[in-house]
Each structure stands twice: as C-alpha cells, then as structure tokens.
Amino acid sequence: MTPIEAVDGAPMVELDGVSKAYRGVVAVSEMSCRVGPGVTALLGPNGAGKSTVLRLACGLTPPTQGVVRIHGHDPRRDPRVYRFVGLVPQQERLLPRTTALQFVELAGRLHGIEDPRAAARSSLQAVELDPDDGRYVEDYSKGMSQRVKIAQALVNGPSIIVADEPLNGLDPRQRARMIDTLVGLGAQGRCVIISSHVLEEVERFGSRVLVMAQGRLAAVGDVGRIRDLMDDRPHRIRVGTDRGVDLAAALMATGAVIGARVTPAGLDIETNDVTAFARRVAVEARRIDATLEEVRPLDDDLESVFRYLVETPRGRR
C-alpha cells in the first residue's frame, strides 16, 4: 500500500458530533473534541463510554452519527491511516502460541517497517521485557502481557498512541515506569490518549482531562479543575448518633448544613461547606449531649462527581 500523509493543519484526532448506539442503546452522544500533542485522559466511571470513544477514535467501530478523523483522514475508509496509530487495547488476550518477540515483530511487519525484528527487540526492551524469552505470551503474567501490548503499539513509532486503561495489572514500579513512558511520548509531541476511571491515576499523568459520564462529555480541563468540581459540589455525610433529630435541628440552625435526613443508620446530612460542618458537628453534639459514633462521607468518590456533573445543568459548571 502506498503511504498516506497527514493533512496539513488537521488535528491529530478529531471527533465531530459523534454518537454511537448499539441496538438502540446510546453509548456515546454527540461528542465533539480535538486532541493534539501531549497526554489527554478520558476519565469516567465504568460504563461512561470511554472505551467506545477510544474505539471510535481508532476507527474500530463506525459512528452512528458524526465524523471521526485521524490526521484529517477517516479511519473507516482508509486503513493506511493506521500507520499513525498505536493501540493498547483493554482486553488481555494476545495471539495464541506466539512469543513476545513474534507478536511484536508481526505488528512491525504489518506496519511495513524495514527491519521488524530489530524494531520488535528494541520495543520490548523499552518496556523491560526480554526479547529472547521463549515462552508463549499466554503464559505471561497480566503485567507482562500489558507491557507486550504496549510494545506492539510502539513498534512503528506512531504519532498517536491510544491506551485503554494502560495501568491495569501493573505493579507500582511498573505503573510509575509506564506513566513515565507515556508522559515522555507526550512530551515528544505525540498524541497520547489514555482512559481511566481513577482520578489519582490521571493526576499522575498531569494531563488534560476529558470527563465522560453517561456517554456524554461532561467536563474538560486539567486535573485541578476536576478537583475543584469535587470540592464545589454539595457533599453528603453520614453522622452516627443517638439523637439524630435533635442534632439535625441544631446543625440546620447553624447554617452549616443545607439538608438533613434521619435514617435507621443515623443522620445523613448535605452540606456545601465541609470545613464549616466539621467545625460545628462536634460542638453541637456536645451542646445537646448527643453521642457521635461516626462521621463519614457518603460520596467522596469519582462516581458521585460524575453523577453531579451529569445531573447539573451545563450553565452551572
């Protein structure tokens, strides 16, 4: 096949009004974004549509509506576009009865590179795997398989690297190494798109973040902005106490809480100011002679942030 060139001025990856439905169920809805050099993270809870967006961005699945372009080309129309793309898919299976060297060499050969064996050896060494390991890849640990997947994605030096949950299965040292590798690739001017449902993980990439929830792009920004969203939203806190009704009334009177509900498990309160609540709750409990058994957040996780982003009208963000 004759090589294909990037269209001058075109974004590296572009989704324009893209929707995807599977048998009537909408997985991604009217998503538009442009992704350029550096690391970009797709962040969202499980089922938010991250993997579908990555599959759309690579052309693995055609959009129901809208257009996907890689360097200005439609990947569904011209497979030559894939010389620009290295994908680290989420699934664990690798080709059967194949050594790591054979597997990565095959990727290099299919990309038409000059010396696929040398490139495969170099790519495996880059992810700290022994190219001469004679074992089949199905005998590898999860972490080693993950590194083989990354080696095959990098073997032809693509300008776009797409990695679906790339840190899955890696131990802490390997995670740090993988983050360094991907951040390094981004710093070289490559477009690195990763997906994750763990904010702390994304934070370590220091990347631009596209937050997805329920198939929609819920927010865009850096990790700091996402952190702000976590802090700004109303928080729900469970207070274990023997005098729920009295404590609720006392806290409401101080203005530290905006809502309260007495439940069999205790008192669930809602507050916009966690710091003020934390200052008042013990004081009020002592004043009315209530026993405090526990004070714990009910929604201090990403799931609730995503829920908040989806349920909040766009104008308020």
């Binding site: 693995l60 497979p79 030559r80 994908l87 299976r93 080709l95 194949t98 597997f103 990727a107």
Partner: protein, 236 residues
C-alpha cells in the same frame, strides 16, 4: 507478499489447535477404515460403492465439517476473543487480510478432507475413484470454507449456524429439486463425482464442468464477501 504470508501463518496458528488437528486425524482414519471394510465385501456395484463412500464420508461429512471448524474459527476465534484487533488495526488492505484468512482456512480444511477422501478410495480397491473424489472434495471444501469464514466473522455462534445450514439446507432442502440444488455446495460437488446417470444419487443434477465452475465461483464470492465484511466490521 511478506505481509500476506505473515497473516496466513497467524491465522493457521489460530485455527489449528491441537484438539482440532487430532480430531480430524481420527475422523479421517475412521473414514478410511470404513472404506476398507466396505471394499473388502465381495458383493455390490463397485462404482456405486465408490460414489457412496465419497458422498457420505467426504462430501456430506468430512468436507463440510472440516470447512466449518477451520473456516468459522479462522476469523471467528480472533473476533470473539478480541485479538483480531492486532491484525485489523494495521495499514493493511482488508482484501489482503480477508484473503489471508481464507487461504489459511483452506490450507487446513482441504488436507483434512481430501487426504482421507483419496485414501478411502484407495482402500476400496478396484472401482475406487481417487482422482474424481479428490477433485470433488477439494472444490466442495473450498466453497464451504470461504462461506464459513464469512459466517465466523458475522455470527458469534458460527458452529451452531453452520451445522443448522448443513443439516437443514444441504441435507434436506437442497434435495427438493434442481433449482434448489443449484444453491447447494453438496449437490454441485456430487455432480462432479457422479457423472454417470447409472449411479444412484438424489442430487447429481449438473454436469461436472458446470458444477466445478459453480463451486469455484462460490469460493471466490465467499472470499470477496469476507474482505467486504472486514471493511464494515465492528471490531471488539
């Protein structure tokens, strides 16, 4: 060419599991043993016996089953377990990938069907028709194989659909007359090996030349359809 050869090797490695290979070696050996036992019986029309062995043992069983097992798995297995992504997401024409899959399936299915067919005819002794049996079995296997490669790509229960097609259409509906038989791989293949009207066959409707041409056309259309479907595929 290096890309094509690499893809064929990968597809062969994918489809030729030890269980499948051993299974077909045993099935082939049984077919040959049965033919040898039939050949050892002194009575009966030898030409008819040779035809029946080819029809029942090879064209109705080994050829379609080998084609189904290897054809449906060559793209079906990687599509099912997600490893197709490592072959699909490359700057390689879908025609090359599809053709490589069909060639790999043929490399596995044709020997699995044709070698027992030839050995069975040899084992029959006088009256055996190894050349005709080999030709009919090879062409039938080729036609079945590319169709089943396509079935493996488009359905997740390709073995079930394949068996249903073989039992319901090939062995039942296609026996309903020449117009239905025209769409039957089995009827076309039987027509190659049973040119003499004196042989008793329910479905030998066509001339050997037209039947051979029809089977080659089915194999070619199947291969094109695989490439077309790969282009449209939703890869997991």
């Amino acid at each position: 060419m290096r890309v094509f050869a690499s893809l064929v090797r990968v597809f062969i490695r994918t489809a030729a599991t030890r269980a499948r290979v051993v299974g077909f070696v045993i099935a082939g050996a049984v077919a040959v043993l049965v033919a040898w036992r039939i050949g050892a019986q002194p009575t009966g029309d030898r030409a008819q016996r040779a035809f029946d062995v080819t029809d029942v043992g090879n064209l109705s069983f080994l050829a379609p089953v080998a084609a189904l097992v290897f054809g449906a798995s060559v793209l079906g297995d990687p599509a099912e377990d997600g490893t197709l992504i490592y072959l699909w997401l490359r700057p390689v024409s879908r025609r090359v990938t599809g053709l490589a899959a069909c060639v790999a399936a043929l490399v596995l299915a044709i020997p699995a069907a044709v070698v027992p067919a030839v050995l069975a005819q040899v084992a029959l002794g006088p009256g055996g028709t190894p050349t005709g049996s080999a030709a009919a079995t090879a062409l039938a296997t080729a036609a079945y194989t590319t169709v089943f490669v396509l079935v493996g790509l488009v359905t997740s229960r390709s073995l079930v659909w394949g068996i249903a097609y073989l039992l319901i259409f090939e062995q039942f509906i296609a026996r309903g007359g020449k117009s239905l038989g025209a769409f039957s791989v089995h009827a076309q293949a039987v027509s190659i090996v049973a040119p003499r009207r004196t042989l008793s066959s329910a479905v030998a409707y066509f001339t050997p030349a037209s039947a051979a041409a029809a089977l080659i056309a089915v194999a070619a259309v199947g291969a094109f359809a695989v490439a077309w479907q790969l282009d449209r595929a939703d890869v997991a």
